[in-house]
Symmetry: C2
Subunit: 309 residues, 2 copies
Protein backbone atom coordinates (compact mmCIF):
# COMPACT_ATOMS: atom_id res chain seq x y z
CA UNK A 1 0.00 0.00 0.00
CA UNK A 2 1.33 3.44 -0.93
CA UNK A 3 1.08 6.64 1.03
CA UNK A 4 -2.29 7.51 2.56
CA UNK A 5 -3.49 10.96 3.66
CA UNK A 6 -5.51 11.47 6.83
CA UNK A 7 -7.53 14.57 7.62
CA UNK A 8 -10.36 16.04 9.66
CA UNK A 9 -13.18 18.26 8.42
CA UNK A 10 -13.09 21.59 6.62
CA UNK A 11 -12.86 24.67 8.85
CA UNK A 12 -10.76 22.49 11.12
CA UNK A 13 -10.96 22.78 14.89
CA UNK A 14 -8.43 21.42 17.37
CA UNK A 15 -9.82 17.85 17.24
CA UNK A 16 -9.84 17.80 13.42
CA UNK A 17 -6.15 18.76 13.37
CA UNK A 18 -4.81 16.90 16.40
CA UNK A 19 -6.71 13.65 15.77
CA UNK A 20 -5.33 13.59 12.21
CA UNK A 21 -1.80 14.03 13.60
CA UNK A 22 -2.37 11.31 16.22
CA UNK A 23 -3.93 8.86 13.77
CA UNK A 24 -1.03 9.37 11.35
CA UNK A 25 1.41 8.69 14.20
CA UNK A 26 -0.41 5.48 15.15
CA UNK A 27 -0.46 4.22 11.55
CA UNK A 28 3.18 5.21 10.99
CA UNK A 29 4.18 3.34 14.14
CA UNK A 30 2.31 0.34 12.68
CA UNK A 31 4.50 0.53 9.59
CA UNK A 32 2.26 2.41 7.14
CA UNK A 33 3.15 5.64 5.35
CA UNK A 34 0.55 8.17 6.43
CA UNK A 35 0.61 11.99 6.36
CA UNK A 36 -1.77 14.19 8.33
CA UNK A 37 -2.99 17.14 6.26
CA UNK A 38 -5.60 19.88 6.81
CA UNK A 39 -8.44 21.24 4.70
CA UNK A 40 -8.42 24.80 6.05
CA UNK A 41 -6.75 27.49 8.12
CA UNK A 42 -5.94 26.91 11.77
CA UNK A 43 -8.07 28.76 14.32
CA UNK A 44 -6.45 30.70 17.17
CA UNK A 45 -6.96 27.90 19.67
CA UNK A 46 -5.33 25.25 17.48
CA UNK A 47 -2.42 27.58 16.68
CA UNK A 48 -1.88 27.93 20.43
CA UNK A 49 -1.98 24.15 20.88
CA UNK A 50 0.50 23.30 18.11
CA UNK A 51 2.87 26.03 19.28
CA UNK A 52 2.62 24.92 22.93
CA UNK A 53 3.68 21.37 22.08
CA UNK A 54 6.11 22.31 19.31
CA UNK A 55 4.14 20.24 16.79
CA UNK A 56 4.44 20.73 13.06
CA UNK A 57 1.50 22.40 11.27
CA UNK A 58 -0.03 19.88 8.83
CA UNK A 59 0.19 20.79 5.15
CA UNK A 60 -2.86 22.60 3.69
CA UNK A 61 -4.50 20.88 0.72
CA UNK A 62 -7.70 21.46 -1.26
CA UNK A 63 -7.92 18.19 -3.17
CA UNK A 64 -6.54 14.74 -2.46
CA UNK A 65 -7.13 12.55 -5.54
CA UNK A 66 -4.21 14.24 -7.30
CA UNK A 67 -1.92 12.85 -4.57
CA UNK A 68 -3.28 9.51 -3.41
CA UNK A 69 -5.87 6.87 -4.37
CA UNK A 70 -7.09 6.33 -0.80
CA UNK A 71 -7.56 8.28 2.43
CA UNK A 72 -8.38 7.96 6.12
CA UNK A 73 -10.96 10.31 7.64
CA UNK A 74 -11.05 11.47 11.24
CA UNK A 75 -13.63 13.62 13.06
CA UNK A 76 -16.10 13.72 10.13
CA UNK A 77 -17.82 11.61 7.53
CA UNK A 78 -20.30 13.85 5.69
CA UNK A 79 -19.23 14.64 2.15
CA UNK A 80 -19.95 18.34 2.42
CA UNK A 81 -17.44 18.60 5.27
CA UNK A 82 -14.68 16.67 3.52
CA UNK A 83 -12.18 17.25 0.71
CA UNK A 84 -13.76 18.71 -2.43
CA UNK A 85 -12.89 15.59 -4.41
CA UNK A 86 -13.64 12.99 -1.73
CA UNK A 87 -15.80 11.10 -4.26
CA UNK A 88 -12.71 10.40 -6.34
CA UNK A 89 -10.77 8.45 -3.71
CA UNK A 90 -11.39 5.33 -1.64
CA UNK A 91 -12.11 5.92 2.03
CA UNK A 92 -10.24 3.14 3.84
CA UNK A 93 -11.31 4.03 7.33
CA UNK A 94 -13.24 6.54 9.39
CA UNK A 95 -12.78 7.36 13.08
CA UNK A 96 -15.47 9.74 14.19
CA UNK A 97 -17.91 10.76 16.89
CA UNK A 98 -20.62 12.46 14.81
CA UNK A 99 -23.88 11.33 13.22
CA UNK A 100 -23.54 9.46 9.94
CA UNK A 101 -25.05 11.21 6.92
CA UNK A 102 -24.36 11.63 3.23
CA UNK A 103 -21.64 9.04 3.46
CA UNK A 104 -21.45 6.06 1.16
CA UNK A 105 -18.78 3.60 0.10
CA UNK A 106 -18.56 1.02 -2.64
CA UNK A 107 -16.77 -1.53 -0.50
CA UNK A 108 -16.58 -2.52 3.16
CA UNK A 109 -14.30 -0.36 5.29
CA UNK A 110 -13.11 0.13 8.84
CA UNK A 111 -15.56 2.49 10.52
CA UNK A 112 -15.22 3.29 14.17
CA UNK A 113 -17.69 5.76 15.59
CA UNK A 114 -18.60 6.09 19.23
CA UNK A 115 -21.00 8.55 20.85
CA UNK A 116 -18.25 10.19 22.90
CA UNK A 117 -17.22 13.83 23.14
CA UNK A 118 -14.08 13.71 21.05
CA UNK A 119 -12.36 11.72 18.30
CA UNK A 120 -9.14 11.66 20.33
CA UNK A 121 -10.93 9.60 23.00
CA UNK A 122 -11.50 6.87 20.41
CA UNK A 123 -7.95 7.15 19.05
CA UNK A 124 -6.70 6.66 22.62
CA UNK A 125 -8.49 3.27 22.54
CA UNK A 126 -7.03 2.42 19.14
CA UNK A 127 -3.49 2.97 20.46
CA UNK A 128 -4.24 0.64 23.36
CA UNK A 129 -5.91 -2.00 21.21
CA UNK A 130 -2.88 -1.97 18.91
CA UNK A 131 -0.48 -2.16 21.86
CA UNK A 132 1.31 1.02 20.73
CA UNK A 133 2.62 3.65 23.18
CA UNK A 134 1.43 7.24 22.74
CA UNK A 135 4.37 9.67 22.43
CA UNK A 136 4.39 12.52 24.97
CA UNK A 137 3.75 15.28 22.42
CA UNK A 138 0.93 13.36 20.73
CA UNK A 139 -0.67 12.80 24.15
CA UNK A 140 -0.63 16.58 24.69
CA UNK A 141 -2.31 17.15 21.34
CA UNK A 142 -4.96 14.49 22.06
CA UNK A 143 -5.63 15.98 25.50
CA UNK A 144 -6.05 19.38 23.80
CA UNK A 145 -8.64 17.82 21.46
CA UNK A 146 -10.67 16.58 24.40
CA UNK A 147 -10.44 19.91 26.25
CA UNK A 148 -11.54 21.71 23.08
CA UNK A 149 -14.46 19.45 22.16
CA UNK A 150 -15.80 19.20 25.71
CA UNK A 151 -15.08 22.81 26.72
CA UNK A 152 -13.01 21.49 29.64
CA UNK A 153 -15.55 18.72 30.38
CA UNK A 154 -18.48 21.17 30.68
CA UNK A 155 -20.28 20.30 27.42
CA UNK A 156 -23.17 17.79 27.54
CA UNK A 157 -21.27 15.89 24.83
CA UNK A 158 -18.61 15.01 27.41
CA UNK A 159 -18.82 11.38 28.53
CA UNK A 160 -17.13 9.42 31.30
CA UNK A 161 -14.90 7.92 28.62
CA UNK A 162 -13.63 11.38 27.62
CA UNK A 163 -12.81 12.19 31.24
CA UNK A 164 -11.03 8.86 31.65
CA UNK A 165 -9.04 9.31 28.43
CA UNK A 166 -8.09 12.87 29.43
CA UNK A 167 -6.72 11.60 32.75
CA UNK A 168 -4.59 9.01 30.98
CA UNK A 169 -3.33 11.58 28.47
CA UNK A 170 -2.65 14.11 31.24
CA UNK A 171 -0.38 11.54 32.89
CA UNK A 172 1.52 10.79 29.67
CA UNK A 173 1.86 14.42 28.58
CA UNK A 174 2.65 15.88 32.01
CA UNK A 175 0.25 18.77 31.33
CA UNK A 176 -1.91 20.39 34.07
CA UNK A 177 -5.28 20.00 32.36
CA UNK A 178 -7.21 22.73 34.21
CA UNK A 179 -4.75 25.62 33.91
CA UNK A 180 -3.49 24.69 30.43
CA UNK A 181 -7.06 24.04 29.30
CA UNK A 182 -8.38 27.45 30.31
CA UNK A 183 -5.43 29.23 28.64
CA UNK A 184 -5.99 27.18 25.51
CA UNK A 185 -9.73 27.89 25.34
CA UNK A 186 -9.16 31.59 25.94
CA UNK A 187 -6.65 31.65 23.07
CA UNK A 188 -9.60 30.75 20.83
CA UNK A 189 -11.88 33.52 22.03
CA UNK A 190 -10.02 36.56 20.81
CA UNK A 191 -12.37 37.87 18.15
CA UNK A 192 -11.38 41.56 18.13
CA UNK A 193 -8.82 41.11 15.38
CA UNK A 194 -11.15 39.09 13.14
CA UNK A 195 -13.36 40.40 10.33
CA UNK A 196 -17.05 39.42 10.37
CA UNK A 197 -16.36 37.16 7.42
CA UNK A 198 -13.66 35.35 9.38
CA UNK A 199 -15.88 35.01 12.46
CA UNK A 200 -18.63 33.18 10.59
CA UNK A 201 -16.13 30.84 8.94
CA UNK A 202 -13.73 29.93 11.79
CA UNK A 203 -15.85 26.92 12.74
CA UNK A 204 -18.69 26.50 10.26
CA UNK A 205 -20.21 23.22 9.17
CA UNK A 206 -22.61 22.61 6.29
CA UNK A 207 -25.47 20.15 6.67
CA UNK A 208 -28.13 18.75 4.40
CA UNK A 209 -31.27 18.49 6.55
CA UNK A 210 -34.17 17.03 4.61
CA UNK A 211 -34.29 19.21 1.51
CA UNK A 212 -32.71 22.19 3.22
CA UNK A 213 -29.12 23.43 2.90
CA UNK A 214 -28.00 24.59 6.32
CA UNK A 215 -24.80 26.03 7.76
CA UNK A 216 -24.11 26.27 11.46
CA UNK A 217 -21.18 28.34 12.67
CA UNK A 218 -19.96 28.59 16.23
CA UNK A 219 -17.58 30.93 18.00
CA UNK A 220 -16.45 30.71 21.59
CA UNK A 221 -16.18 33.89 23.63
CA UNK A 222 -15.84 34.99 27.23
CA UNK A 223 -18.29 37.89 26.66
CA UNK A 224 -21.11 37.48 24.13
CA UNK A 225 -21.49 41.27 23.78
CA UNK A 226 -18.08 41.38 22.07
CA UNK A 227 -19.68 39.52 19.19
CA UNK A 228 -23.23 40.86 19.24
CA UNK A 229 -22.09 44.47 19.19
CA UNK A 230 -21.01 43.62 15.65
CA UNK A 231 -24.39 42.15 14.65
CA UNK A 232 -24.87 44.39 11.59
CA UNK A 233 -21.59 43.38 9.93
CA UNK A 234 -22.10 39.73 10.93
CA UNK A 235 -25.55 39.76 9.27
CA UNK A 236 -24.13 41.30 6.11
CA UNK A 237 -21.49 38.54 5.90
CA UNK A 238 -24.02 35.81 6.63
CA UNK A 239 -26.45 37.10 4.00
CA UNK A 240 -23.62 37.14 1.48
CA UNK A 241 -22.89 33.49 2.35
CA UNK A 242 -26.60 32.60 2.05
CA UNK A 243 -26.80 34.20 -1.40
CA UNK A 244 -23.54 32.69 -2.64
CA UNK A 245 -24.43 29.13 -1.61
CA UNK A 246 -28.22 29.36 -1.91
CA UNK A 247 -28.61 28.34 1.73
CA UNK A 248 -31.99 27.95 3.42
CA UNK A 249 -30.68 28.60 6.89
CA UNK A 250 -27.58 29.96 8.61
CA UNK A 251 -27.17 29.76 12.37
CA UNK A 252 -24.29 31.50 14.17
CA UNK A 253 -23.95 30.31 17.75
CA UNK A 254 -21.95 32.62 20.01
CA UNK A 255 -21.06 30.44 22.97
CA UNK A 256 -19.90 31.82 26.28
CA UNK A 257 -17.40 29.27 27.60
CA UNK A 258 -17.66 30.67 31.14
CA UNK A 259 -21.48 30.67 31.52
CA UNK A 260 -22.17 27.75 29.10
CA UNK A 261 -25.00 29.63 27.33
CA UNK A 262 -25.23 30.60 23.65
CA UNK A 263 -26.71 33.49 21.72
CA UNK A 264 -27.82 32.40 18.26
CA UNK A 265 -28.07 34.71 15.27
CA UNK A 266 -30.41 33.08 12.75
CA UNK A 267 -30.92 34.11 9.11
CA UNK A 268 -32.42 32.53 6.00
CA UNK A 269 -35.85 31.60 4.72
CA UNK A 270 -36.09 28.56 7.04
CA UNK A 271 -35.40 30.71 10.14
CA UNK A 272 -38.81 29.91 11.61
CA UNK A 273 -37.74 26.24 11.85
CA UNK A 274 -35.09 27.32 14.34
CA UNK A 275 -37.76 29.05 16.43
CA UNK A 276 -39.90 25.93 16.60
CA UNK A 277 -36.88 23.68 17.12
CA UNK A 278 -35.64 25.64 20.12
CA UNK A 279 -39.01 26.91 21.38
CA UNK A 280 -37.82 30.50 21.23
CA UNK A 281 -38.90 33.66 19.46
CA UNK A 282 -36.21 35.45 17.52
CA UNK A 283 -35.90 39.09 18.54
CA UNK A 284 -34.07 41.05 15.84
CA UNK A 285 -32.88 37.61 14.51
CA UNK A 286 -31.31 36.71 17.87
CA UNK A 287 -32.32 34.36 20.67
CA UNK A 288 -30.68 33.09 23.85
CA UNK A 289 -30.29 29.34 24.25
CA UNK A 290 -29.68 28.68 27.94
CA UNK A 291 -27.24 25.85 28.62
CA UNK A 292 -26.61 25.23 24.93
CA UNK A 293 -22.92 24.82 24.09
CA UNK A 294 -22.88 21.80 21.77
CA UNK A 295 -23.67 22.14 18.08
CA UNK A 296 -23.60 18.38 17.69
CA UNK A 297 -25.79 17.39 20.60
CA UNK A 298 -27.99 20.41 21.20
CA UNK A 299 -28.35 22.14 17.83
CA UNK A 300 -28.00 19.68 14.90
CA UNK A 301 -30.47 16.99 16.12
CA UNK A 302 -33.30 19.38 16.98
CA UNK A 303 -32.87 21.40 13.78
CA UNK A 304 -32.75 18.18 11.73
CA UNK A 305 -35.95 17.04 13.43
CA UNK A 306 -37.67 20.36 12.73
CA UNK A 307 -36.57 20.48 9.08
CA UNK A 308 -37.36 16.89 8.14
CA UNK A 309 -40.86 16.50 9.54
CA UNK B 1 -33.19 2.44 29.09
CA UNK B 2 -36.05 0.11 28.18
CA UNK B 3 -35.93 -3.00 26.06
CA UNK B 4 -34.00 -2.83 22.78
CA UNK B 5 -34.40 -5.13 19.77
CA UNK B 6 -31.41 -6.32 17.75
CA UNK B 7 -31.63 -7.83 14.29
CA UNK B 8 -29.79 -8.59 11.07
CA UNK B 9 -30.96 -7.95 7.51
CA UNK B 10 -34.07 -9.12 5.71
CA UNK B 11 -33.85 -12.55 4.04
CA UNK B 12 -31.62 -13.47 6.96
CA UNK B 13 -28.63 -15.76 6.54
CA UNK B 14 -26.76 -17.54 9.33
CA UNK B 15 -24.68 -14.48 10.28
CA UNK B 16 -27.76 -12.20 10.39
CA UNK B 17 -29.47 -14.59 12.83
CA UNK B 18 -26.52 -15.79 14.92
CA UNK B 19 -24.84 -12.40 15.29
CA UNK B 20 -28.15 -10.94 16.53
CA UNK B 21 -28.38 -13.75 19.11
CA UNK B 22 -24.75 -13.24 20.16
CA UNK B 23 -25.03 -9.45 20.38
CA UNK B 24 -28.18 -9.77 22.50
CA UNK B 25 -26.33 -12.19 24.81
CA UNK B 26 -23.41 -9.78 25.19
CA UNK B 27 -25.70 -6.84 25.98
CA UNK B 28 -27.82 -8.90 28.36
CA UNK B 29 -24.68 -10.01 30.19
CA UNK B 30 -23.80 -6.30 30.43
CA UNK B 31 -27.11 -5.67 32.20
CA UNK B 32 -29.27 -4.40 29.33
CA UNK B 33 -32.62 -5.88 28.25
CA UNK B 34 -32.10 -6.89 24.60
CA UNK B 35 -34.05 -9.36 22.44
CA UNK B 36 -32.75 -10.80 19.17
CA UNK B 37 -35.47 -10.91 16.51
CA UNK B 38 -35.50 -11.75 12.78
CA UNK B 39 -36.96 -10.03 9.75
CA UNK B 40 -37.63 -13.13 7.64
CA UNK B 41 -37.80 -16.91 7.39
CA UNK B 42 -34.79 -19.05 8.28
CA UNK B 43 -32.93 -20.72 5.42
CA UNK B 44 -32.09 -24.43 5.52
CA UNK B 45 -28.54 -23.83 6.69
CA UNK B 46 -29.55 -21.60 9.60
CA UNK B 47 -32.29 -24.07 10.63
CA UNK B 48 -29.59 -26.75 10.76
CA UNK B 49 -27.34 -24.49 12.88
CA UNK B 50 -29.97 -23.55 15.47
CA UNK B 51 -31.14 -27.15 15.78
CA UNK B 52 -27.54 -28.44 16.12
CA UNK B 53 -26.85 -26.14 19.07
CA UNK B 54 -30.35 -26.32 20.54
CA UNK B 55 -30.73 -22.55 20.23
CA UNK B 56 -34.09 -20.81 20.29
CA UNK B 57 -35.41 -19.44 16.98
CA UNK B 58 -35.66 -15.64 17.26
CA UNK B 59 -39.17 -14.18 16.99
CA UNK B 60 -40.25 -13.02 13.50
CA UNK B 61 -41.28 -9.37 13.25
CA UNK B 62 -42.13 -7.05 10.36
CA UNK B 63 -42.02 -3.70 12.14
CA UNK B 64 -40.20 -2.52 15.25
CA UNK B 65 -41.46 0.97 16.12
CA UNK B 66 -44.65 -0.52 17.55
CA UNK B 67 -42.52 -2.31 20.16
CA UNK B 68 -39.49 -0.15 20.98
CA UNK B 69 -38.15 3.37 20.43
CA UNK B 70 -34.61 2.22 19.65
CA UNK B 71 -32.78 -0.70 18.06
CA UNK B 72 -29.36 -2.23 17.48
CA UNK B 73 -28.44 -3.41 13.98
CA UNK B 74 -26.05 -6.22 13.14
CA UNK B 75 -24.78 -7.43 9.75
CA UNK B 76 -26.40 -4.59 7.76
CA UNK B 77 -26.94 -0.87 7.66
CA UNK B 78 -28.72 -0.05 4.39
CA UNK B 79 -32.33 1.00 4.89
CA UNK B 80 -33.67 -1.23 2.13
CA UNK B 81 -32.29 -4.28 3.94
CA UNK B 82 -33.67 -3.33 7.37
CA UNK B 83 -37.04 -3.29 9.12
CA UNK B 84 -39.77 -1.64 7.06
CA UNK B 85 -40.16 1.14 9.64
CA UNK B 86 -36.48 1.60 10.49
CA UNK B 87 -36.90 5.38 9.90
CA UNK B 88 -39.24 5.55 12.87
CA UNK B 89 -36.80 4.34 15.52
CA UNK B 90 -33.40 5.46 16.78
CA UNK B 91 -30.47 3.29 15.73
CA UNK B 92 -28.26 3.14 18.84
CA UNK B 93 -25.51 1.03 17.37
CA UNK B 94 -24.43 -0.87 14.29
CA UNK B 95 -22.00 -3.78 14.09
CA UNK B 96 -21.38 -4.68 10.47
CA UNK B 97 -18.91 -5.74 7.83
CA UNK B 98 -20.56 -4.30 4.69
CA UNK B 99 -20.23 -1.08 2.73
CA UNK B 100 -22.08 1.91 4.21
CA UNK B 101 -24.89 3.28 2.04
CA UNK B 102 -28.33 4.80 2.45
CA UNK B 103 -27.74 5.05 6.16
CA UNK B 104 -28.23 8.23 8.12
CA UNK B 105 -28.77 9.16 11.74
CA UNK B 106 -29.82 12.32 13.51
CA UNK B 107 -27.42 11.85 16.39
CA UNK B 108 -24.02 10.27 17.04
CA UNK B 109 -24.08 6.52 17.55
CA UNK B 110 -21.81 3.56 18.14
CA UNK B 111 -20.80 2.23 14.74
CA UNK B 112 -18.33 -0.59 14.45
CA UNK B 113 -17.59 -1.84 10.97
CA UNK B 114 -14.50 -3.72 9.94
CA UNK B 115 -13.61 -5.11 6.52
CA UNK B 116 -13.64 -8.71 7.76
CA UNK B 117 -15.56 -11.71 6.46
CA UNK B 118 -18.21 -11.95 9.14
CA UNK B 119 -20.02 -9.87 11.77
CA UNK B 120 -19.39 -12.59 14.37
CA UNK B 121 -15.63 -11.93 14.03
CA UNK B 122 -16.23 -8.37 15.23
CA UNK B 123 -18.62 -9.49 17.99
CA UNK B 124 -15.89 -11.86 19.19
CA UNK B 125 -13.72 -8.74 19.72
CA UNK B 126 -16.55 -6.90 21.49
CA UNK B 127 -16.89 -9.74 24.02
CA UNK B 128 -13.16 -9.57 24.69
CA UNK B 129 -13.08 -5.78 24.92
CA UNK B 130 -15.94 -5.92 27.43
CA UNK B 131 -14.21 -8.70 29.40
CA UNK B 132 -17.28 -10.96 29.04
CA UNK B 133 -17.00 -14.74 28.50
CA UNK B 134 -18.71 -16.25 25.45
CA UNK B 135 -21.10 -19.09 26.44
CA UNK B 136 -20.42 -22.43 24.73
CA UNK B 137 -23.64 -22.42 22.65
CA UNK B 138 -23.15 -18.82 21.54
CA UNK B 139 -19.58 -19.68 20.48
CA UNK B 140 -21.00 -22.47 18.30
CA UNK B 141 -23.45 -20.06 16.68
CA UNK B 142 -20.72 -17.48 16.07
CA UNK B 143 -18.43 -20.13 14.56
CA UNK B 144 -21.33 -21.14 12.27
CA UNK B 145 -21.65 -17.50 11.15
CA UNK B 146 -17.99 -17.43 10.15
CA UNK B 147 -18.18 -20.79 8.34
CA UNK B 148 -21.28 -19.58 6.48
CA UNK B 149 -19.99 -16.15 5.46
CA UNK B 150 -16.54 -17.40 4.41
CA UNK B 151 -17.72 -20.70 2.87
CA UNK B 152 -15.37 -22.54 5.23
CA UNK B 153 -12.60 -19.93 4.77
CA UNK B 154 -12.62 -20.26 0.95
CA UNK B 155 -14.26 -16.94 0.11
CA UNK B 156 -12.02 -13.95 -0.81
CA UNK B 157 -13.90 -12.08 1.93
CA UNK B 158 -12.22 -14.29 4.52
CA UNK B 159 -9.46 -12.50 6.45
CA UNK B 160 -6.82 -13.65 8.90
CA UNK B 161 -8.98 -12.20 11.65
CA UNK B 162 -11.88 -14.48 10.69
CA UNK B 163 -9.61 -17.53 10.79
CA UNK B 164 -8.23 -16.45 14.17
CA UNK B 165 -11.70 -15.83 15.61
CA UNK B 166 -12.93 -19.21 14.27
CA UNK B 167 -10.07 -20.98 16.06
CA UNK B 168 -10.94 -19.28 19.34
CA UNK B 169 -14.64 -20.11 18.92
CA UNK B 170 -13.83 -23.71 17.95
CA UNK B 171 -11.97 -24.10 21.23
CA UNK B 172 -14.83 -22.65 23.29
CA UNK B 173 -17.59 -24.56 21.48
CA UNK B 174 -15.78 -27.88 21.17
CA UNK B 175 -16.96 -28.20 17.56
CA UNK B 176 -14.81 -29.81 14.80
CA UNK B 177 -14.92 -26.91 12.32
CA UNK B 178 -14.14 -28.83 9.11
CA UNK B 179 -16.58 -31.73 9.43
CA UNK B 180 -19.36 -29.72 11.09
CA UNK B 181 -18.80 -26.90 8.59
CA UNK B 182 -19.23 -29.06 5.51
CA UNK B 183 -22.40 -30.66 6.91
CA UNK B 184 -23.76 -27.24 7.73
CA UNK B 185 -23.03 -25.77 4.28
CA UNK B 186 -24.54 -28.81 2.56
CA UNK B 187 -27.70 -28.39 4.64
CA UNK B 188 -28.14 -25.08 2.86
CA UNK B 189 -27.77 -26.46 -0.65
CA UNK B 190 -30.86 -28.64 -0.87
CA UNK B 191 -32.91 -26.80 -3.47
CA UNK B 192 -35.04 -29.65 -4.82
CA UNK B 193 -37.87 -29.00 -2.39
CA UNK B 194 -37.95 -25.23 -3.02
CA UNK B 195 -40.15 -23.34 -5.50
CA UNK B 196 -38.47 -20.94 -7.93
CA UNK B 197 -39.98 -18.09 -5.95
CA UNK B 198 -38.36 -19.37 -2.79
CA UNK B 199 -34.99 -19.88 -4.48
CA UNK B 200 -34.73 -16.26 -5.58
CA UNK B 201 -35.71 -14.99 -2.13
CA UNK B 202 -33.73 -17.24 0.24
CA UNK B 203 -30.82 -14.83 0.24
CA UNK B 204 -31.70 -11.72 -1.73
CA UNK B 205 -30.50 -8.20 -1.03
CA UNK B 206 -31.76 -4.96 -2.54
CA UNK B 207 -29.32 -2.18 -3.43
CA UNK B 208 -29.62 1.35 -4.70
CA UNK B 209 -26.75 1.81 -7.17
CA UNK B 210 -26.67 5.29 -8.62
CA UNK B 211 -30.23 5.77 -9.91
CA UNK B 212 -30.80 2.05 -10.40
CA UNK B 213 -32.81 -0.31 -8.21
CA UNK B 214 -30.96 -3.62 -8.08
CA UNK B 215 -31.54 -6.93 -6.34
CA UNK B 216 -28.88 -9.60 -6.04
CA UNK B 217 -29.85 -13.08 -4.91
CA UNK B 218 -27.48 -15.92 -4.16
CA UNK B 219 -27.96 -19.65 -3.65
CA UNK B 220 -25.29 -22.16 -2.69
CA UNK B 221 -25.27 -25.54 -4.41
CA UNK B 222 -22.99 -28.52 -4.88
CA UNK B 223 -24.09 -28.88 -8.54
CA UNK B 224 -25.05 -25.76 -10.53
CA UNK B 225 -27.06 -27.82 -13.03
CA UNK B 226 -29.58 -28.58 -10.29
CA UNK B 227 -30.51 -24.90 -10.39
CA UNK B 228 -30.00 -24.04 -14.07
CA UNK B 229 -32.16 -26.93 -15.26
CA UNK B 230 -34.96 -24.85 -13.76
CA UNK B 231 -33.98 -21.64 -15.61
CA UNK B 232 -37.41 -21.08 -17.21
CA UNK B 233 -39.30 -21.06 -13.93
CA UNK B 234 -36.54 -19.03 -12.24
CA UNK B 235 -36.78 -16.37 -14.99
CA UNK B 236 -40.57 -16.23 -14.65
CA UNK B 237 -40.23 -15.60 -10.90
CA UNK B 238 -37.50 -13.01 -11.39
CA UNK B 239 -39.49 -11.13 -14.02
CA UNK B 240 -42.48 -11.06 -11.67
CA UNK B 241 -40.20 -9.57 -8.99
CA UNK B 242 -38.83 -7.01 -11.46
CA UNK B 243 -42.34 -5.93 -12.46
CA UNK B 244 -43.65 -5.83 -8.90
CA UNK B 245 -40.79 -3.67 -7.59
CA UNK B 246 -39.92 -1.80 -10.78
CA UNK B 247 -36.34 -3.06 -10.61
CA UNK B 248 -33.71 -2.17 -13.18
CA UNK B 249 -31.61 -5.24 -12.60
CA UNK B 250 -31.90 -8.64 -10.93
CA UNK B 251 -28.87 -10.90 -10.57
CA UNK B 252 -29.19 -14.48 -9.33
CA UNK B 253 -25.80 -15.98 -8.46
CA UNK B 254 -25.75 -19.77 -8.26
CA UNK B 255 -22.57 -20.52 -6.34
CA UNK B 256 -20.92 -23.92 -6.30
CA UNK B 257 -19.40 -24.27 -2.82
CA UNK B 258 -17.12 -27.09 -3.96
CA UNK B 259 -15.59 -25.45 -7.07
CA UNK B 260 -15.91 -21.82 -5.86
CA UNK B 261 -17.37 -20.61 -9.20
CA UNK B 262 -20.75 -18.98 -9.85
CA UNK B 263 -23.26 -19.01 -12.68
CA UNK B 264 -25.18 -15.74 -12.84
CA UNK B 265 -28.65 -15.38 -14.29
CA UNK B 266 -29.15 -11.70 -15.17
CA UNK B 267 -32.44 -10.00 -16.06
CA UNK B 268 -33.73 -6.43 -16.29
CA UNK B 269 -33.21 -3.39 -18.47
CA UNK B 270 -29.76 -2.68 -16.98
CA UNK B 271 -28.49 -6.20 -17.75
CA UNK B 272 -25.82 -4.88 -20.09
CA UNK B 273 -24.19 -3.16 -17.11
CA UNK B 274 -23.54 -6.61 -15.65
CA UNK B 275 -21.84 -7.64 -18.89
CA UNK B 276 -19.48 -4.66 -18.83
CA UNK B 277 -18.94 -5.00 -15.07
CA UNK B 278 -17.86 -8.62 -15.29
CA UNK B 279 -16.37 -8.54 -18.80
CA UNK B 280 -18.64 -11.35 -19.94
CA UNK B 281 -21.28 -11.84 -22.60
CA UNK B 282 -24.60 -13.18 -21.41
CA UNK B 283 -25.64 -16.30 -23.30
CA UNK B 284 -29.37 -16.87 -22.86
CA UNK B 285 -29.14 -14.47 -19.86
CA UNK B 286 -26.48 -16.61 -18.18
CA UNK B 287 -22.73 -16.23 -17.71
CA UNK B 288 -20.06 -18.07 -15.73
CA UNK B 289 -18.03 -16.04 -13.23
CA UNK B 290 -14.90 -18.06 -12.46
CA UNK B 291 -13.76 -17.83 -8.86
CA UNK B 292 -16.64 -15.57 -7.85
CA UNK B 293 -18.30 -16.64 -4.59
CA UNK B 294 -18.72 -13.35 -2.72
CA UNK B 295 -21.63 -11.02 -3.46
CA UNK B 296 -20.14 -8.40 -1.20
CA UNK B 297 -16.61 -8.39 -2.46
CA UNK B 298 -16.88 -9.62 -6.05
CA UNK B 299 -20.34 -8.59 -7.25
CA UNK B 300 -21.62 -5.47 -5.45
CA UNK B 301 -18.52 -3.23 -5.91
CA UNK B 302 -18.08 -3.90 -9.66
CA UNK B 303 -21.80 -3.55 -10.38
CA UNK B 304 -21.93 -0.33 -8.35
CA UNK B 305 -18.96 0.98 -10.33
CA UNK B 306 -20.61 0.08 -13.65
CA UNK B 307 -23.97 1.60 -12.70
CA UNK B 308 -22.73 4.87 -11.21
CA UNK B 309 -20.30 6.01 -13.86
Amino acid sequence: MGKVLVFGHKSPDTDAICSAIAFADLKNQLGEEVEAIRLGDLNGETEYVLKHFGAEVPRLVKTVANEVPAVYLVDHNERAQSADDIEDVDVLSVVDHHRIANFETKAPLYYRAEPVGCTATIINKLYKEAGIAIPKTIAGLMLSSIISDTLLFKSPTCTEEDVKAAKELEAISGVDTQSYGLDMLKAGTNIADKTAEELISIDVKPFKMGKYAVEIAQINVVDTDDALSRQAELEASINKEIDAKDLDLFVLAVTNILTSDSEVLVLGKAASAAESAFHVTLDNNVATLKGVVSRKKQIVPVLTEALTK
